[in-house]
């Protein structure tokens, strides 16, 4: 069965070398390198070499066409077009492409038309050279020597030209098809700054980055990961600024991945991160080219994945969640204030319910008298103990939030108002929960969005702390805090301590954490990441008024 053999061959050919690396002693493993066992039966290696031969093109158009059609059996989007090259002498040829991935107009105008009307003198010997040199008005052309290559190219959106009696096919890149255009990023909206966000197409994303950095030092290095999806993944870094060892390590980690699909950068993140069991992300992501460029300039490495607008950046530090691109485009005072607000909001969202539960259950003596009276009055009639109330309210809030995300837009507004007002108000008046608890929940909810990248982290931490608070009061909360801190401090993201510059404190880097120092004061890159190329600005850039003497009347 030719199809099976072919597909086997394709799979094995690509991954055999890596498999051999991983399991040098176990030839048996080679047999089952796809989770879908049905596609692969155990086939000894010997067959591969023979298949290698049958994998190359024959030159017999009928046979080749047949082969292609059988590879793409039941792919109704396959288009094959037979025609004759040359206006006078005609050499038979056909093109194969997948509808929807190609730019039809370009194929018609730049591929078929010039070939059909080719005036040049051609014969079997020079047909390739002539076509490449004189006929195909296509910028990206390469030669294909095997069905594996050809199939790969067709699947990527290229058009393949098979020529009679030629064992080499020409692959022309005339990709098109409907794709999302570059538009404003929905998850990272700002007031001031560029609004462009990445899209799903890798080359567009690479282009967006190139536009930000017109620098040959910006290197892109591509790999394909995912045995079924064959997703293209690209590692981007600034040579000379990024740490060479980090780049090497990233590339090694990516090569190590052996899975069948990479559907989103999150999949890659799961395979390369430093703290796979940790709550805290050690790999960052961004949707906008200016953010990624800034990170590259600090010495980080970016990983672009085809099919998703979310680009990964490593190493990722805890404090990065509190730094927003917009901070750097606005004036320092407000940016500093907003930074403090973010820290405050993060602490509020994680600690407030736990502290409320702890203090009202274990340590009422810490409440000022007036507050105690209000809380006592409110909690007087409620049936649940404070911890249960807190957990209940938090769960309801999470349900509301998740539902709000998935609601169709027309219904969304109404339901969220219903959720907030009715449920909250009704719950209070029916005596199910106390009013202070609703206030606490609302505060927690709103604060959780101030630091968007840590929303999911803070939710889990919050629940754990509420449980600790309910069982052992303030003592439990403090111990929980200590445990989390210890864990965070021990994390590293590609060798860089996760909590720098807070934990191994680098005083010079704190100016971008505690405050947002004016741009002319940030002279150095973060020491632990871009230490190799420390200076990014010349000193004395602070603007001063012009000399009086030269001046005005």
């Amino acid at each position: 069965m030719p199809i099976k053999k072919l597909v086997d061959g394709l799979n094995k050919r690509k991954y055999r070398s890596r498999r051999q690396q991983q399991s040098a002693n176990d030839p048996g493993l080679n047999r089952t390198n796809s989770p879908n066992g049905s596609l692969l039966d155990s086939q000894p290696d010997v067959q591969d070499t023979s298949q290698a031969n049958s994998d190359s093109l024959t030159g017999d158009l009928v046979k080749d066409l047949h082969t292609v059609q059988s590879i793409f059996e039941e792919s109704s989007d396959l288009i094959t077009r037979e025609f004759k090259i040359g206006a006078t002498e005609s050499i038979k040829a056909f093109i194969v492409m997948l509808n929807g991935l190609i730019d039809v107009k370009a194929v018609n105008a730049d591929l078929i038309k010039p070939l059909m009307f080719l005036e040049h003198d051609i014969n079997k010997n020079n047909v390739l050279a002539v076509i490449k040199g004189n006929a195909l008005s296509v910028a990206m052309v390469k030669e294909g020597h095997s069905f594996a290559e050809v199939t790969d190219s067709i699947l990527s959106g290229d058009t393949v030209l098979f020529i009679e009696d030629s064992e080499i096919a020409l692959i022309a890149s005339l990709r098109g098809g409907e794709r999302r255009s570059v538009e404003e990023s929905k998850t990272e909206s700002i007031v001031r700054g560029p609004r462009e966000g990445f899209v799903e197409n890798l080359s567009t994303n690479m282009a967006l980055l190139r536009r930000k950095m017109k620098n040959p030092a910006l290197k892109f290095s591509e790999l394909q990961i995912g045995s079924q999806t064959k997703t293209t993944v690209c590692v981007a870094y600034l040579k000379g600024i990024a740490n060479e060892k980090v780049v090497e390590e990233i590339k090694n980690r990516l090569k190590r991945i052996d899975t069948d699909s990479i559907l989103e950068s999150g999949y890659i993140e799961a395979f390369i991160e430093d703290g796979p069991l940790s709550l805290f992300p050690t790999v960052g992501n961004a949707e906008k080219p200016d953010i990624v460029s800034a990170k590259l300039l600090e010495g980080r490495v970016a990983i672009l994945v085809d099919g998703t607008p979310f680009v990964l950046t490593v190493p990722y530090l805890f404090i990065e969640a509190f730094q927003n691109a917009e901070d750097y485009y606005t004036r320092p005072y407000y940016a500093t204030f907003i930074r403090w607000l973010r820290w405050l909001a993060f602490f509020l969202t994680t600690l407030t319910p736990a502290l409320y539960v702890a203090i009202t259950t274990f340590h009422q003596e810490f409440l000022p008298p007036a507050l105690l009276v209000s809380i006592a009055a409110a909690e007087e009639g409620t049936p649940f103990p404070a911890m249960v109330e807190a957990l209940l309210m938090q769960t309801i809030y999470e349900i509301l939030r998740e539902a709000g995300l998935r609601l169709p837009r027309p219904v969304g507004q109404a339901v969220s108002i219903v959720g907030v007002l009715v449920i909250g108000d009704a719950a209070i008046s029916s005596g199910l929960v106390g009013a202070p608890m609703v206030v606490v929940t609302a505060l927690t909810a709103i604060s959780s969005f101030v630091v968007p990248s840590l929303t999911d982290v803070s939710t889990i931490v919050r629940f754990i702390l509420i449980l600790l608070a309910g069982f052992s009061g303030l003592y439990g909360v403090v111990l929980g805090f200590i445990a989390f801190m210890t864990h965070q401090i021990s994390l590293r993201s590609l060798g860089v301590p996760y909590m720098s510059p807070l934990a191994p404190s680098t005083f010079s880097d704190l100016k971008d954490v505690v405050i947002r120092a004016p741009l002319w004061a940030m002279l150095t890159r973060p020491r632990v990441i871009g230490g190799g190329n420390p200076n990014r600005r010349k000193p004395n850039l602070r603007p001063t008024p012009p000399d009086e003497q030269k001046g005005e009347s």
Partner: protein, 361 residues
């Protein structure tokens, strides 16, 4: 590996500092030791130069053996006897950890959560400390670096908030009983500093050899300063007689903070901060015990020792302190000073002498 981490000099200073002040400030035994009057703060100032003097043996030993901890070089200096010294020192670390743990549990039980059994506090703290110890020296030092500013700022703010209640006249008359009791007091405080031996263990892991002198000076200087910072509000707000009768002077004094009827009851903050500090101290001592033991036994890794030591630690702390009274009796200056000086002063001094005589290092 045994310990590959490095500690920077700032981190070491803060670690020593936090460890020394945190339990002391909660109990402030100084109030009931010579001098038994309002000159306590003078004793605390005098503590700084005195402690430096008493830490000299450790410094000299470090100079001779810059890359080894006291457990390691004591074996080199004195062979089998050195090993014995090592065992004694490790016992002292273990004992200190247990005492700190006992003090921690007793405070929480007396002042805040009175119905919870002591075992609960001891157990949970040991678990968290074991976790941190497992992570190694770097994590411990980074934790101390992170928590120290919080603790320092809190106590400084408290001093400011109490300023309006402080009656400086209570500090007079100065030197009422003369200098000798003051000096006695300083001597007693030096006896409590197990951190001197901690330095002996950690100096080899210091990042930057040049800064060792600075570590000694800054850490003890800071400690001394902080003691004064804590004692003065207590003395001036309560007066000497009542202050001496308080079990937890600093906690009681923070209960009195009342600014504009709005900023009050901040002892919750004090409690939280104090738990952070005690965590650092217990982790530090726990780590020293486990590291020392593994060096003594020439093990490759100290991690397997952590949990077993923990299981010894908890009952030991419960044994030491079934009640506050017995604990205070033991740590009171009459007995404890001699006991401590044996380890902190005598053993290092003997090691120095032996090293000089035998021309080692």
């Amino acid at each position: 590996m045994l310990e590959e981490g490095r500690i920077t000099y700032k981190q070491l200073i803060l670690l020593i500092f936090l460890s020394r002040i945190i339990v002391t400030i909660n109990y402030l035994p100084a109030l009931n030791e010579p001098p038994l009057n309002q000159d306590v703060w003078l004793s605390e100032l005098l503590f700084f130069p005195l402690q430096l003097l008493l830490a000299l043996p450790v410094y000299i030993l470090w100079k001779r053996f810059p890359n080894q901890t006291i457990i390691q070089y004591s074996q080199i200096i004195a062979g089998k006897l050195g090993k014995l010294a090592g065992v004694l020192i490790i016992w002292y670390f273990l004992h200190s950890t247990a005492i700190s743990l006992a003090q921690f549990s007793l405070f929480l039980t007396s002042a805040v959560m009175s119905e919870t059994p002591i075992l609960f506090f001891a157990l949970t703290l040991v678990l968290v400390c074991a976790y941190a110890t497992r992570k190694g020296l770097e994590v411990i030092s980074r934790l101390s670096e992170l928590f120290a500013p919080l603790i320092i700022i809190t106590f400084i703010s408290v001093t400011f908030l109490l300023a309006k209640d402080m009656n400086l006249k209570t500090l007079t008359p100065i030197l009422e009983k003369g200098v000798l009791p003051v000096f006695n007091g300083s001597l007693i405080y030096s006896a409590r500093s197990v951190e001197v031996l901690g330095l002996a263990m950690l100096l080899p892991y210091l990042n930057n050899r040049q800064k060792v002198k600075r570590v000694f000076i800054l850490s003890f200087g800071l400690i001394s300063l902080f003691f004064v910072l804590i004692t003065i509000p207590v003395l001036t707000v309560f007066g000497v007689t009542e202050a001496r009768r308080l079990t937890f002077p600093d906690y009681s004094v923070i209960q009195l903070v009342n600014v504009g009827d709005f900023l009050e009851r901040i002892e919750s903050v004090h409690m939280a901060i104090w738990i952070l500090g005690t965590f650092i101290k217990v982790t530090f001592l726990y780590y020293l015990t486990v590291l020392g033991l593994s060096q003594l036994l020439n093990l490759k890794d100290y991690r397997p020792l952590i949990l077993p030591t923990g299981t010894i630690l908890i009952p030991l702390s419960l044994l030491i302190a079934p009640s506050l009274v017995e604990l205070e009796a033991f740590t009171s200056y009459k007995i404890f000073v001699w006991y401590s000086f044996f380890f902190i002063l005598l053993i290092p001094s003997l090691l120095v002498l032996t090293a000089i005589i035998r021309k080692k290092g």
